[in-house]
Amino acid sequence: MEKVLVNNNFKSEEYFINMGPQHPATHGVLRLLLTIDGEIIKKVEPDLGYIHRSIEKMSERDSYQQIVHLTDRMDYLSSHINNEAVCLTVENALQLEIPDRIKVIRTIIGELTRIASHTLWWGVMGMDVGALTTYFYGFRDREMINDIFEETCGARLTMNYNIPGGLMFDIHPNFVKRTKEFITHFRTKLPEYDRLLTGNVIFQKRMKGVGMLSKEDAISFGASGPVGRGSGYSCDVRKHHPYSALDKVTFKEILKTEGDSFARYQVRIEEMWESMSIIEQLIDNIPEGDHQVTTNAVIKLPKGEFYQKVETARGELGVYVISTGTKNPYRIKFRSPGFSNLSLLNHIAVGGKIGDLVASMATLDLVIPDIDR
């Protein structure tokens, strides 16, 4: 059956173009309906649902350990942090006492995941604006992190290493050594990234003044993560509602006030430096202890509502569980950061050019499975 999409605000001198769902710049299956006038964009309407897998409905008949497995596939670039969110919700609801070793290891792997996600973002960002070599440099560093994960957790991308009650296995003996090697290697590479892309005049011309987002708009649209921090909105969940071992480390929250794409870019680059400093503070002093706290095989949360916020690489992920005391949640809702970040695309892209849309979308760092769930 042919489906015809009619845009009711279509004026005769405007041009209606479809970007996606298969498109090299939309980072996943996102379809954008653009109404353009020459080169200027008049309206951007995202069309979602191409990778909707009804995770929320599926979770209503799954046990909590199975739900952890599903969250890997939401924002697959920060899969460990997604798992951590659900595990923390369950552990806080059951009021389990988690030993320090587990917390520290979760934080270290979470920060490594953040660095891996940001290097991939950097590589793809360069590719979107035309510097095709950055993709390979970003992936070279990400491969090192993936190898560390593979040794410890068993998988490179969807790690599924957290369980409610701790970690599935203890860390591999090589973990500490390899992480330290990686940090030493990466400290020499980040300045290289700056020389290649950040300091480039062409790149700065493409990014500065493009996709402006004011602080009030950022808060109103619910922007979080680097998108919010690039506009001066202090929204780092690691600072305001710390979890795991994050209250024991000192790190800066990176805030920029300009609100353009270049500010968001710089926030992510500097976040990588901060993540490395967090890992360095923790890696030498991993406390001894168990890697798991025993829970029942069938976890039943007490009756009530529970909310847990974590900071993924994209922003604030929220897990909202309504439980009636049975072994499945009555309702589970994942507040994904990409969903709110995508809603501001229309706001920042209108009035700019198509090239600006691509650049702004790259700085929003959208991962579509995170939005579609």
Binding site: P24, G130, L197, I202, G355, D356
Partner: protein, 357 residues
């Protein structure tokens, strides 16, 4: 020595050979056909190996190796690709204007071939030594734009049309800069004929003779030349992450190969013009091997390939410019600098301040 000298002036040699066998007019026509075939072969081989060079250079920049399975060091890779392209189905859109759609690739190929014919690869190895050499080259590159516009228009595809329009605007704007920077150098040589220009450089390469304005002219020429051939950082037209593949979205198989090859040959032509005008053509530095004329081919190719490598280096390092930034660069920056440069060069030539050896 004698035989080698005669062999280089190919047009004359072949003509003389044939005059003995058939009447004059037929001999000249057959000569023309033979020369055209030779250049077509040079064009095809050069195109193929330039594509391979690009892939290898890109790979080395990106920490990879590049094609190395097909033939030793990947030398037969493009041959395999060409065979694949030849065997592909020639698709076309339903409402495409058939005649223009088929005609468009030929425009770009023919103009590239014509430009290739006037270069002095070495002393007397030149198919067509016209006395308005540079003017001829610039005029030919203007004809190439028609091919791009026709390709985009006749595909009956919104994206292709947008891509073709952008490309047309870009090419027409940057031709101005190319013309003016070449004009700057002509002020020193006093002649448009390419072999004369190389002769003048026997007393020092033009980039050295003209010192400051020549260096500025060279830099403007390289920027404008990269933009002229739609290479990065000016490749908005073919930007994959923006809107499909630009004006050649609807082409496949051999016709796509024509556009693709023509882009590489254009790159070679821009580099070759720069070599001839700025870097002494086939002359060796300080005249060390000038007594062996056929070595001139290697000097010419070597210098051209260095400039081609420079253009490839640009492509894999810099991000892309937006269309309005591209046009601002040309009209607000390069053009005024160029005009001022011409005046400076004129003053230097008038006051005899050029460096001669």
């Amino acid at each position: 020595m004698n035989t080698m000298n005669i062999a280089l002036n190919i047009t004359q040699t072949i003509q003389d050979l044939l005059v003995g066998m058939m009447p004059e007019s037929v001999a000249s026509i057959v000569t023309m056909v033979v020369i055209a075939l030779i250049y077509l072969i040079i064009f095809a081989v050069a195109g193929l190996y330039l594509v391979l060079l690009e892939r290898k250079v890109a790979a080395w920049f990106q920490l990879r190796i590049g094609p190395n399975r097909v033939g030793y060091w990947g030398l037969l890779q493009t041959m395999a690709d060409a065979l694949k392209l030849v065997s592909k189905e020639l698709t076309g859109t339903v409402k495409a204007d058939k005649f223009l759609y088929n005609l468009a690739p030929y425009f770009v190929i023919v103009t590239s071939l014509m430009a290739l014919a006037v270069f002095p690869f070495t002393q007397e190895f030149q198919a067509f030594d016209i006395n308005i050499g540079i003017f001829f080259l610039i005029a030919i590159s203007s004809i190439g734009v028609i091919g791009i516009l026709l390709g985009g228009w006749s595909s009956n595809n919104k994206f292709a049309l947008i891509g073709a329009m952008r490309s047309g605007v870009q090419t027409i704007s940057y031709e101005l800069s190319i013309g003016l920077s070449l004009l700057t150098m002509v002020l020193i040589t006093g002649s448009l004929q390419l072999s004369e220009i190389v002769e003048v450089q026997k007393s020092g390469w033009l980039i050295v003779q003209g010192h400051i304005p020549a260096v500025i002219a060279f830099m403007i020429y390289m920027i404008a030349g990269t933009a002229e051939t739609n290479r990065a950082p000016f490749d908005l037209v073919e930007a994959e992450s923006e809107l499909g593949a630009g004006f050649h979205t609807e082409y496949s198989g051999m016709k796509f190969a024509y556009f693709f090859l023509a882009e590489f040959i254009n790159m070679f032509i821009i580099a070759a013009i720069a070599t001839t005008i700025f870097f002494g053509g086939w002359l060796s530095p300080f005249g060390i091997t000038d007594s062996i004329p056929w070595l001139g081919i290697f000097w010419f190719l070597g210098k051209t390939l260095v400039l081609v490598f420079l253009m490839m280096w640009f492509r894999w390092t810099f991000p892309r410019l937006r269309i309005d930034q591209l046009l601002t660069l040309e009209w607000k920056y390069l053009l005024p600098i160029n005009l001022v440069n011409i005046v400076i060069m004129a003053i230097i030539v008038w006051l005899n301040l050029t460096i001669k050896f």
